[in-house]
Symmetry: C2
Subunit: 248 residues, 2 copies
DNA sequence: CGGCCCATTGAATTGCCTCAACGCTCGTGG
DNA sequence: CCACGAGCGTTGAGGCAATTCAATGGGCCG
């Protein structure tokens, strides 16, 4: 199977054969397998190498002194955890797996070499960082303004589209290996309320969620209900209106 | 008065004379003055040059279809708005002034020249991006987990420390040119409730807030109340424990 | 002086939370 | 093979934090 990072970057730029080879070799140097619910890095640690998720789901989270926990981001296959984090002295948050995960650890220098070798890849990597930031902003909007139904609906839309971008959906369905507690920690809701909201979404025929499989029966309508606007995912390839300019 | 960006970057690295000159000239090429409550860029626009706030307060915000509005970030003097935003086709959020603002518009190429000329400046600029991202994550935690009192307390701590980092505090006081509506839009609370919470904070002797001046009487205690941990601001100069290594 | 923006206050409402209990499924060990 | 416990989902009841609606007052500007 092709490296999901390649698939992800190709949402943005068309990669040359060489680009792909560069990425593929970098991502195969040091591959680690982790179990579910395992910390990768914890708050206070010095930053490690860049981690690229090859398979499975992980998350970024932060814990308050009294134990309250907030999931800050989800990492899906093809996502990188903080390409530049090494610029700070210690991590201000933790990373953990949710499912069993395969990650590729890419050394700082390797990454630098890639960036130097291919301006196109450099641009693509910056693009992933911008999208990560945009997602974080959208979560801020969700938590600040959206109701519980909208928040959950929005999150499901986002995850579905992100998975689809790396080829991990099956028609209207995708895996959703999150518990209701996880969903609550990501949306700032209690697990009890998550449960009731999911029932509401199921009841109105928008989704099915059974076992670990999510099916979105009417993506359009779910997006409308959740006030979801996909623009922030920047899934449109940059060159589409600017192809002539690609040489730059 | 010295350029506030210089002061800000010096929180992180010690800049050479040349570095400062580079920055100072870049920031003086195109200076714009804006009134209060003016949009700088709106959602859907193509990204412009990088804007550096020289004076005044601005914000990033997003509006939902039905008018609900969330302030996503505050820009204080010395902050840059999205050094890399030009990598995407259209803005997914808006920027607006809150007070009268002076900004320096720095062209993409100028920025590139600076980065090429000084690796130290390049690192410092990456650091500002990381801090911006860290602040965004902390807002996610606030909105998701903190109570109204904690949220407002946390925001006040953050703003105060960020202002102090660029020399804009006066002992325990600083300017806070935000209305209670603004504070509500940033914290996801109604302006009515913001009002009541502020009274609570005043009542317990933690702060004064009168006119546009905030005074934090007991920063330690306010931090404790708000579960505030300044680590995410990464205000410690990178070299402090690594000075010997500065040559790299 | 009149009008507007902002802060403040009260009252009624509600979205979501907490607490508590129960059922299901699955893996494990006796 | 069945018993048992753990983790997760589900349900009900009661409570509280924060909201909405509405009205009032102060300060500033034209």
């Amino acid at each position: 199977m092709e490296n999901p990072l390649i698939r992800r970057l190709e949402c943005f730029v068309r990669l040359s054969h060489d680009d792909k080879r560069l990425l593929a070799t970098a991502a195969s140097q040091r591959v680690r397998r982790l179990g579910p619910r395992e910390d990768i890095v914890v708050e206070g640690d010095p930053p490690r190498d860049v981690s690229l998720v090859l398979d499975g789901w992980a998350c970024r989270y932060k814990t308050l002194a009294d134990g309250r926990r907030q999931i800050i981001a989800f990492f899906l296959p093809g996502d990188t955890c903080d390409p530049h984090a090494f610029a700070v002295r210690e991590m201000d948050h933790s990373l953990a797996t949710l499912t069993p995960v395969t990650i590729a650890e890419i050394a700082r220098d390797t990454l630098q070499d890639i960036v130097d070798a291919s301006p196109r890849l450099a641009r693509a990597l910056i693009w992933t960082m911008l999208v990560t930031a945009a997602v974080q902003r959208e979560w801020t909007v969700s938590l600040g303004q959206r109701t519980a139904v909208e928040r959950l609906g929005h999150l499901l839309c986002e995850l579905f589209l992100r998975l689809r971008a790396v080829g991990l959906t099956d028609g209207p369905s995708c895996e959703l290996p999150l518990t209701q507690v996880d969903l609550g920690e990501a949306t700032g809701l209690s697990n009890v309320h998550v449960n009731r909201v999911l029932q509401e979404l199921r009841g109105s025929g928008l989704i099915s969620l059974k076992g670990r499989v999510l099916t979105i029966h009417d993506l359009q309508r779910l997006q409308a209900v959740a006030l979801f606007n996909a623009a922030y995912l920047h899934l449109d390839r940059e060159g589409r209106t600017l192809d002539a300019n690609d040489a730059r």
